[in-house]
């Protein structure tokens, strides 16, 4: 890492604040931002095993908190970032246009609305407070859930809360429920005895796809390298799914986030990792949640309706199935 170089650069910049910014990375390693979500932590297997080198592609994975990773991507400092298909639209609408070339997984229960003891269903949340990171993925989960039981956003009060802090916020009693993904959702369940999930992403599989979203310029310039990254992903999924190697894979994933392997296992269960062959089907155009086109379209409608952003996004321009189709057998 060019840490020393960047320190020198800072010195220069601080003294004469007038220097303009330079250079998205056009050469060198592909810079990919990832954060604490099982479908992205999965990359750690390939990093630890040196599979990128084996495929002949140079990558640098940078560990972030989720929202800062998207900020860095918007600022043009990353070639790609792991985010949800819905957040890709949110980020794109505010200036960080991306193209999804790979679907890592869909959330299959890891995203949850956890309510304090006594609240048994979404309906009970009428007039209550829900802590959630407003404008991002689990806000969407809440809207989707509420609509199913015939409620609107205005029927509840959303309290903007950092996902990391949702367990403590639920425990504080100042809100009646929280929306979060693993590990925070699970920590909330553990921290507040008697709390239950009233809605999860398993109730609407395909609402939340987790993807690799690439900067369009880098994609055009370095397509061949991205194809190799996709090949590596297929190896990762195979390694995690193969019963013979699952244990080793879980150990690597748990190590990345600082947990014991047996503590990490449940997180994988709530995430349906997709092989390229499986994503190929998801990448087919269609309506409804089975297709990422349909899912993103629904998310776009939601975002407009609830004014997460103002202008309709051209969903098709955010998705490029061609790489997956090319590599998938």
């Amino acid at each position: 890492m060019g840490r020393r170089a960047s320190l020198g650069a800072t010195l220069g910049l601080a003294i004469s604040l007038a220097i303009g910014s330079a250079s998205a990375a056009w050469a060198g390693a592909l810079k990919i931002g990832y954060s604490d979500w099982p479908g992205w932590v999965a990359w750690q297997v390939a990093i630890d095993k040196g599979w990128f080198k084996e495929e002949g592609v140079e990558v640098e994975f940078e560990w972030f908190d989720y929202v800062p990773s998207m900020d860095a991507f918007s600022a043009g400092k990353l070639d790609a970032v792991g985010m949800t298909n819905g957040d890709a639209l949110v980020v794109g609408a505010t200036g960080g246009k991306s193209v999804t070339i790979l679907i890592n997984d869909y959330s299959n229960g890891n995203d949850m609305i956890v309510a304090k003891p006594g609240i048994k269903s979404l309906k009970d949340l009428k007039g209550k407070k829900i802590g959630v990171e407003v404008g991002f993925v689990d806000h969407l989960l809440i809207l989707n859930g509420l609509e199913k039981v015939g409620m609107k956003e205005s029927d509840v009060t959303l309290v903007n809360t950092k996902t990391n802090e949702t367990p403590q916020v639920l425990a504080s009693g100042d809100v009646d429920a929280i929306g979060a993904w693993q590990p925070s959702s699970g920590q909330a369940l553990k921290l507040v005895a008697g709390s239950t999930t009233v809605y999860t992403s398993a109730d609407e599989p395909g609402l939340i796809y987790d993807v690799l979203a690439v900067n369009p310029a880098t994609l055009a310039a370095r397509r061949a390298e991205w194809l190799k990254v996709l090949k590596v992903w297929d190896r990762v999924v195979a390694y995690i799914n193969d019963p013979k190697t699952t244990e080793d894979a879980v150990k690597i994933l748990a190590g990345r986030v600082g947990l014991k392997p047996e503590e990490y296992k449940p997180f994988l269960a709530g995430t349906k990792l997709l092989t390229l062959a499986e994503s190929k089907k998801v990448f087919e155009k269609g309506d409804g949640f089975k297709s990422i086109y349909g899912s993103s379209k629904i998310v776009d409608d939601f975002n407009i309706k609830y004014e997460v952003y103002k202008e309709k996004q051209d969903v098709g321009s955010y998705l490029d199935p061609s790489l997956t189709n090319e590599v998938a057998k």
Partner: protein, 321 residues
């Protein structure tokens, strides 16, 4: 050691009392923490479940609110089922002193789990470097500017009104801009420390410079000091011990910006450790890391204070601080 002496305004303490009070200043908070942690009837708003009995949702090792727990015990007994068992506990985010002490040790000895992982001491060293560069850059600008402002009213009018304005702007809010200009690594983090420190620094240094005894300036003029000699020969030597003390306080100030600074861009340093541990509710580790920052900060300050008495033997105020 007469007790009445303690309550005389600005009366210096005897060395023995100084040591005693110094130790007490740490012992008292530590005792309060221990009492809250170890005495079951102080606070302990939760129950750590040891045996869930007949209650389905309770699991061993879980913490339930006491009211919920008592409710479940009553219900179980009323129904003739096995009541849950447990002992009073504090919330998971207030670990006991011995847990933090253990975490302090184990977090240093635990090897990184992944190939690109780092040891805790490497994270700490990274954070120290961020502070070092941030404070150095801030000082390179802030100290000269502050001295000029303190010495020359014209310079003061040119800098201080804007500085007064800017110092209220929240440094972390510049995070996105810093990332856009300086990238995702250490650049934006250092920039946040600089923004957070610099504007206070200019004002504090200017103020200190202004407090230089006017008699010194007048004496120098009477003795025929030339205008260009005033600053290097009279003003700076005159305020140097006080500037040094200001810098120590400002260094502490820079440390308080570390956690917000390190949240910008990639997760690194001690903040990476703290947020990652907090996400999985390992609060003993979180407090251990917070303590480390305290120890490093206090240690550095004490070393600088010692150095100060060597550098400025003529400074009288230092002895009593």
């Amino acid at each position: 050691m007469k007790r009445t002496k303690w309550f005389q305004v600005r009366k210096p303490l005897s060395p023995a009392s100084r040591t005693l009070f110094g130790i007490l200043s740490f012992v008292v908070p530590l005792t309060i923490w221990s009492l809250v942690s170890y005495v079951p009837w102080i606070w302990h708003p939760q129950v750590l479940i040891s045996n869930p009995g007949s209650v389905g949702y309770l699991k061993p090792g879980m913490r339930a609110n006491r009211a919920v727990f008592e409710q479940e015990v009553e219900t179980a007994i009323a129904n003739g089922a096995a009541p849950p068992e447990g002992r009073p506990a504090n919330p998971v985010y207030l670990p006991a002193p011995h847990e933090v002490a253990t975490a302090f040790y184990t977090s240093f000895t635990a090897a990184p789990e992944t190939r690109d992982g780092v040891w805790l001491h490497e994270s700490l060293w990274h954070s120290i470097q961020i502070i070092f560069w941030g404070f150095l850059i801030s000082s390179l600008i802030g100290v000269p500017l502050g001295i000029l402002s303190g010495a020359y009213p014209a310079a003061a009018r040119m800098t201080e009104p804007f500085t007064e304005f800017f110092r209220y702007l929240p440094a972390p809010a510049f995070g996105a801009l810093a990332v856009a200009i300086l990238g995702i690594y250490d650049g934006p983090k250092i920039a946040i420390i600089v923004i957070g420190t610099l504007f206070q620094q200019i004002l504090i240094i200017a103020n200190t410079t202004r407090q230089l005894d006017v008699a010194l300036v007048e004496a120098a003029l009477t003795l025929g000091t030339k205008r260009r000699q005033m600053l290097p020969r009279v003003v700076i030597p005159g305020v140097l011990p006080n500037l040094y003390r200001d810098q120590r306080i400002l260094l502490g100030w820079a440390w308080t910006y570390l956690i917000v600074a390190e949240l910008i861009g990639t997760s690194t340093g001690i903040t990476w450790f703290i947020t990652q541990q907090a996400r999985y509710q390992h609060f003993a580790n979180v407090y251990a890391a917070i303590m480390m920052i305290g120890i490093i900060g206090l240690g550095a300050d004490m070393a600088l204070a010692k150095l100060g008495t060597r550098l400025f033997p003529w400074d009288r105020t230092e002895a009593t601080s």
